[in-house]
């Protein structure tokens, strides 16, 4: 008599334990990462070469300045204020924009996680807010600019709120879906090991949802950076968005490109920090 062999594919367990195999298959070997780096660099160099070629063919620095002209402008304004009178250096503009984004983003993350947490646990709140979020989500923050100027004037308040309303729905959706994805059995395991309901909520349910919530934070951060130029259209006298707008009006194309470059560098830095946090929170990706 043989054993009754039950053929069962290893079932999907908690979020962390499933996808490791596929992640490993994606190639994290040393050779692979060097190759990736090399190709990435090649892509950047090719882009710069095409840029250089087009600017050479056009021969008009207002339409497209050369690479070295842009680079030297960027370098110059790192120490030189813009505008020349009562202006700020690129560093300071970056600091201003970064501060605005961090403030709006951080507040948005806190609000989004709190609201999302309540929505995931109390079903009538979810039914109440779901349509609201669905309606507001596709609206670009740009659409609110005139309204916010009427309501809040032209100070920091409307800028803060514009970034905030871009971040909140993203964080709510990320939080709700992250909490929904936590297997009930994982929480039950915690409870039957002696955790109180609150302790299990914090150390199992929320902890288990943390990696996808951090991914939501990354997405929201990206969204905040993409809206910064529009936000700093509102009677701003500083910030990278202001630099880009103002330099554009004055046909200072190298400076426009420098501002764009600064935004992308800052965006990459912030995203890198959040990726680090994600790696810290999810050991399966280490």
């Amino acid at each position: 008599m043989t054993t009754d062999v039950v053929v069962v594919v290893e079932p999907a367990t908690s979020s962390g334990q499933t996808s490791t195999a596929s992640r490993r298959a994606a190639g994290r070997s040393r050779g692979g990462s060097w190759r990736r780096l090399a190709f990435g660099l090649l892509g950047l160099i090719l882009t710069a070469a095409v840029w250089q070629l087009v600017s050479y063919v056009k021969g008009d620095p207002v339409i497209l300045p050369s690479v070295q002209r842009t680079a030297s402008t960027f370098w110059e304004y790192l120490s030189q204020p813009y505008p020349a009178v009562q202006g700020k250096t690129l560093w300071q503009h970056a600091l201003v924009s970064g501060g605005r984004i961090l403030a709006g983003w951080a507040a948005g993350v806190v609000i989004g996680v709190a609201v999302g947490g309540v929505m995931a646990s109390v079903s009538f709140v979810r039914h109440l807010l779901d349509p609201l979020i669905e309606i507001t989500r596709p609206l670009p923050p740009l659409a609110f600019i005139p309204l916010f100027i009427v309501w809040f004037g032209i100070g920091e308040t409307p800028k803060f709120l514009l970034i905030l309303i871009g971040v909140v729905p993203v964080m709510i959706i990320a939080t709700v879906s992250a909490l929904d994805a936590v297997p009930t059995e994982l929480v039950q395991a915690g409870r039957s090991l002696g955790a109180s309901p609150l302790w299990a909520l914090l150390t199992v349910r929320l902890r288990s949802a943390l990696p996808p919530i951090i991914t939501g934070m990354r997405l929201a951060m990206g969204g905040a950076w993409t809206s910064i130029v529009a936000v700093e259209l509102i009677a701003a006298t500083s910030g990278l968005g202001y630099v880009i707008n103002n330099a554009g009006v004055n046909l200072q194309t190298p400076l426009v490109l420098s501002g764009i470059l600064a935004i992308s560098v800052l965006g990459i830095v912030f995203d890198g920090l959040l990726r680090l946090l994600h790696r810290f929170a999810d050991p399966t990706t280490r």
Binding site: M1, T3, D4, V6, S14, Q17, E185, A189, P283
Partner: protein, 268 residues
């Protein structure tokens, strides 16, 4: 076929588990959908230190029953008692092992084992020592700092064992714990479980689909009938202990399996 009588219960000892007239139904998703009765009038008594196997067709309410014993859900009617006390909620005195190990993927093996003591704010040097000792017992002495995704399927199950045993439960509730394992690992885990049970003298309620597994492990096998779930027959397994996988070849074992299978297939 022996019905519920069994060996004389050791004098004054309270039963480890008592289920009296337990009824549980689930309402459908829509209000008009008919109520689904998962369990109706379920009675069962488990002696202290007994290894009881629950066997039945899919959907007969085995997991529902175990969830009530664990305190995750409450019965609509009837009583669920462990050690003579009604179950009011989950607790560390009843260790639960799920079909998948349900380790916390963000904690190392040792921290997984220490989760219970930490959650109860009872983490002492003594518990820590016990956790390390238990990991040795389950053969994970070298895997303290490994994360669950770095362990094999069988190792994860053993880590889950250690995580439950560190709380010194009086009752182990196991819901098809080896269902997802390959045949070889499964045999190893069965041997491990029997060894553990003989050493620690805990009561075990073990849910399985597998007739052979039930006969090999259990003191008694409770065969359930499908929707609504009831205890159809309780079959005494009078094979000598300690048992091993070789015993499955004997005539007594094959006859026992046939009896269980007949009870399972018997229509009313």
């Amino acid at each position: 076929m022996t019905l519920t009588q069994g060996l004389p219960v050791s004098t004054a000892a309270r039963p480890a588990v008592e289920l009296i007239g337990v009824k549980k139904h689930f309402t459908g998703r829509s209000r008009r959908a008919p109520k689904r009765v998962a369990l109706d009038g379920f009675d069962l008594t488990v002696r202290p230190g007994e290894f009881l196997c629950l066997l039945g067709p899919s959907g007969c309410g085995k997991s529902t029953l175990l969830n009530m014993l664990a305190g995750f859900t409450q019965p609509d009617r009837g009583q669920v008692l462990t050690d003579g006390e009604p179950v009011t909620g989950p607790g560390p005195d009843r260790g639960v092992l799920f079909q998948t190990p349900m380790l916390f993927p963000w904690l190392t093996t040792l921290d997984n084992v220490l989760y219970g003591p930490r959650a109860r704010h009872e983490l002492t040097a003594e518990t820590r020592r016990r956790a390390v000792e238990l990991l040795e017992t389950v053969g994970l002495a070298d895997a303290h700092d490994a994360f669950p995704h770095e362990l094999s399927g069988g190792m994860r199950h053993r880590a889950a064992f250690a995580r439950v045993l560190v709380n010194r439960p009086r009752l182990l509730l196991m819901d098809e714990p080896f269902g997802a394992l390959d045949a070889i690992t499964r045999v190893a885990m069965q041997r491990f479980l029997l060894h553990l049970w003989q050493r620690e003298q805990i009561t075990i309620v073990f849910v399985t689909h597998d007739v052979e597994e039930a006969a090999l492990l259990g003191d008694r096998v409770c065969v359930m009938s499908g929707s609504p779930g009831r205890a159809r027959a309780v079959i005494e397994v009078d094979l000598p202990r300690p048992r091993s996988i070789e015993d499955t070849e004997t005539l007594e074992f094959v006859q026992l399996k046939r009896r269980i299978r007949e009870a399972l297939e018997d229509d009313h």
